[in-house]
């Protein structure tokens, strides 16, 4: 390289307890460059970013040089003040605070006496939102927003720090196509303006779309850096996984027929959220619900499962031909439903609990011995099985789930619901944060349980998932089902058009 890199890591290491998360990391980025960072779940990407963000301190001396001087931030504030700004992998906003408060947190405009300048704050927030095409009221509490908007807000928040180096950890997971484009445009634009960007993502097409260089991590090591222009996706995948990925034919094209109705939903209505939704799910079928964000996908999943807060005004359910109430999660679970929610942090994991305890929570009563005591041996076996089945990278079933990488946590949660042996499996954004290899495995797993007679419903804005995995798909628009696709009609462009227009595409 001609110019001295702006940020350079040499031989960075990090251990957690006994586990060496980073063994030998070499990495550098020049001014105005976009550098992709890819690797399997648990490879160490987030750990590296957290070190740069001042959250973790690396082992041993400082292997990091920034702007020509040694860089060793003690905390997030040090990093932020030196222009290194991070968008962390998991949603990092304060739910009880408003949009404006969140994006300007610790960066508020103040006037005389240190008083906030409320009008300036609102104007600033409104302008930022407009700039990123976000049509939301700055005074909305963040809790009330869907996940993708929250993700976008994190990006907006990062921009208020005027980054010199922007570290983006899976910035596009749970975003819709349109939003992904907004983010990618932003990345390109920032690079043009001289900001250096580290772009961590499991969406390799996005990585290839914006990055100048790609560094591949495996098992805590950087195994190499490639020029994007000199490589291909499959080459990168091979480096990541050490094996090839075979593109499979999409399921709908195989045209499997399913006739036995398993669950039928009629006239499901949640005022202001869901509008008169009726459909049948067949045994062995994988059904997809997609649409733009805000079209009510998560709400539908939750309304079926009977989550409190989803006040059903109307709606009847028939499971295996028998009417059922599905009044609350406990009842739904008993009837054979399972729901994987899309908010891993708030509604998914119990961070301090072991993998086993997370996995076995819904079925804990099954491990009761006649004495009333738990069969701890079997419980542990179940945890161990989950780790093996989903190839979770963990030190063992006793490890607290918070010590896992994001993608591995997601796998544990999928395992959790699988252990309930559901008849109907509702999956809301199941592949968030999952690496390409595992995504493939999870797809296979879902197909396998479908083949065993389970009815699966996937709720996702990820049209590729729908295309690959579903027998049939419904498109939602503002809480209403506006289209149904099957067979060869189940195809990306038709779905997208319907999602946007709210009208069935030809």
């Amino acid at each position: 390289m001609l110019i001295e890199p702006l940020l350079k890591c040499s031989n960075v290491r990090k251990t957690f307890g006994g586990l060496q998360a980073l063994k030998e990391v070499h990495f550098e980025i020049g001014k105005g460059q976009v550098h992709g960072l890819v690797g399997e779940n648990g490879a160490g990407k987030s750990t590296l970013l957290r070190i740069l963000a001042g959250v973790h301190q690396p082992d041993g001396g400082t292997g990091i040089v920034y702007n020509g001087t040694s860089y060793a931030p003690h905390n997030a504030n040090d990093a932020l003040r030196s222009g290194i700004v991070t968008i962390h992998q998991d949603i990092n906003l304060i739910g009880t605070m408003t949009v404006a408060e969140n994006i300007l947190l610790n960066n508020e405009p103040t006037g005389a006496w240190g008083l906030l300048r409320a009008s300036k704050m609102n104007k600033l927030a409104a302008n930022l939102l407009k700039q990123y095409h976000l049509d939301i009221d700055p005074s909305t509490p963040v809790n009330e927003l869907p996940n993708d908007i929250k993700k976008m807000l994190q990006i907006v928040k990062a921009m208020t720090w005027n980054p010199k180096v922007l570290l983006m950890d899976e910035p596009t997971s749970s975003l819709t196509n349109v939003e992904v484009e907004v983010v990618l445009d932003l990345v390109r634009d920032l690079a043009k303006r001289g900001v250096s960007i580290v772009f961590v993502s499991h969406y390799l097409s996005e990585v290839f779309a914006v990055c100048d260089d790609i560094t591949i991590m495996r098992d805590g090591r950087t195994v190499g850096t490639l020029r994007t222009s000199d490589t291909t996706i499959s080459q990168v995948v091979r480096h990541m996984l050490g094996r090839e990925l075979v593109e499979e034919q999409s399921r709908s094209a195989r045209g499997t027929q399913h006739n036995e109705v398993l669950l039928s939903v009629r006239n499901l209505t949640v005022p202001g959220v869901l509008n008169d939704i009726s459909f049948d799910l067949h045994r062995g079928e994988i059904l997809g619900f997609t649409g733009l964000t805000g079209s009510g996908l998560s709400e539908l999943a939750r309304a079926i499962y009977g989550v409190s807060g989803m006040r059903r005004e109307k709606g009847t359910f028939e499971l295996e031909g028998k009417a059922t109430g599905l009044a609350n999660p406990a009842q739904s679970l008993k009837q054979g439903l399972a729901l994987l929610t899309n908010d891993r942090l708030r509604e998914g994991i119990l961070p301090d609990f072991s993998i086993t305890d997370n996995v076995c929570l819904p079925i804990i009563d099954r491990y009761r011995k006649p004495t009333g005591l738990l069969n701890l041996g079997e419980l542990n076996a179940a945890g161990r099985e989950a780790i093996t089945k989903l190839r979770v990278k963990a030190s063992g079933p006793d490890a607290p789930i918070k010590s896992l990488s994001g993608g591995n946590q997601q796998k544990v949660l999928i395992a959790k619901w699988l252990t309930t042996n559901p008849k109907v499996f509702l999956l809301d954004d199941p592949t968030v944060g999952i690496d390409v290899g595992s995504k493939d495995e999870i797809r296979k797993l879902i197909e396998q349980i479908a083949a065993e007679g389970v009815g699966v419903i996937i709720f996702t804005t990820e049209i590729p998932d729908i295309e690959k995995l579903c027998d049939r798909a419904f498109v939602m628009f503002r809480g209403t089902v506006v289209g149904e696709f099957q067979g060869e009609k189940l195809e990306k462009n038709r779905i997208l058009e319907t999602s946007v227009s709210g009208r069935m595409a030809a």
């Binding site: 905390n75 997030a76 304060i94 009880t96 605070m97 947190l105 610790n106 906030l116 609102n122 009221d137």
Partner: protein, 326 residues
Amino acid sequence: MTMPITENAGANWKGTLRRSYGLIQSVAVLLVLVIIMSLISPRFMSVINIQNLMAQMSPALIVAAGMTIVMINGEFDISVGAVLALTAAVSASLMPQLGFVPAIFVSLFIGPLFGLIAGLIVTYGGIPSFITTLGTMMIARSLAFVVTGGQVISDLPPAFRVIGLARPLGIPLPFIIAMATIVFGWILLTQTAFGKKVYAIGANRLVAALSGISVKRTKIICLMLCGLAASFAGNILLARIGAIQADTARGLEFEVIAAVVIGGVSLGGGQGNIMRVIIGVVVIALIRNFMNLARIDIFWQDFATGSIIIAAVLLDALQKRIGSQT
């Protein structure tokens, strides 16, 4: 769907209304309480009783302002009652030599000092504030006994007593000071960057830290402010009563925490409105006052108090549930 940016004025107004909703409803519950009490005891609404109530609740209001900040920040301060007593004891015992202004001034350092010590232990030692301030409470109470020698200290300068006894425009000065403290707390919590940090840390300290907020420093400052409030209240109480003993304000911490929780501040932190805390303090003061006016049998007074507290909070919650359904 989502609201266009141009409608922001309207949305903001609605937002404000929505945020004030809890406050308005709590006021409604308070009104119900007041009406019932006035019906039972006609003297309840007399000017003099209201003046008394105002003066009586002033120290608790001031302490509640500090406690609200600490609790929104996600911590507790169990030491407030003891720090109040120690401050008043020091202030009273310094007055003869120093004069009352310097004595007050010196004594106002006690609370922040205790807050600083507790804050350092909580943040650097990683000890829960509940335990830490339980410890500092005992230390402060002990020192109060040492300072007073177990005696009542009295005979304070009349000029000082004025602070506790004056009633400009008929409103007791302690109450005016207390309200000013609450307003100060409100400004600090809602109109300053510091306030945003306090809420953010209480809601999610990890996110706050990742946003570059110095969690330790903020927590320490919150505890120091709460200590300052306790010291301030100590001087106000001293001026009102004109005497102090080491035992003063025992149990005040729980009365105030109860008031703060009744006022809607969550025990976990991150949420709450200091203005509603006033209502919490008023409810507790009203109940005590009411017990005295309504001539309820001694043995049954706690029963009535407990029931009224539960009923008032239930009523509040019930109303909110009905409100949120429309």
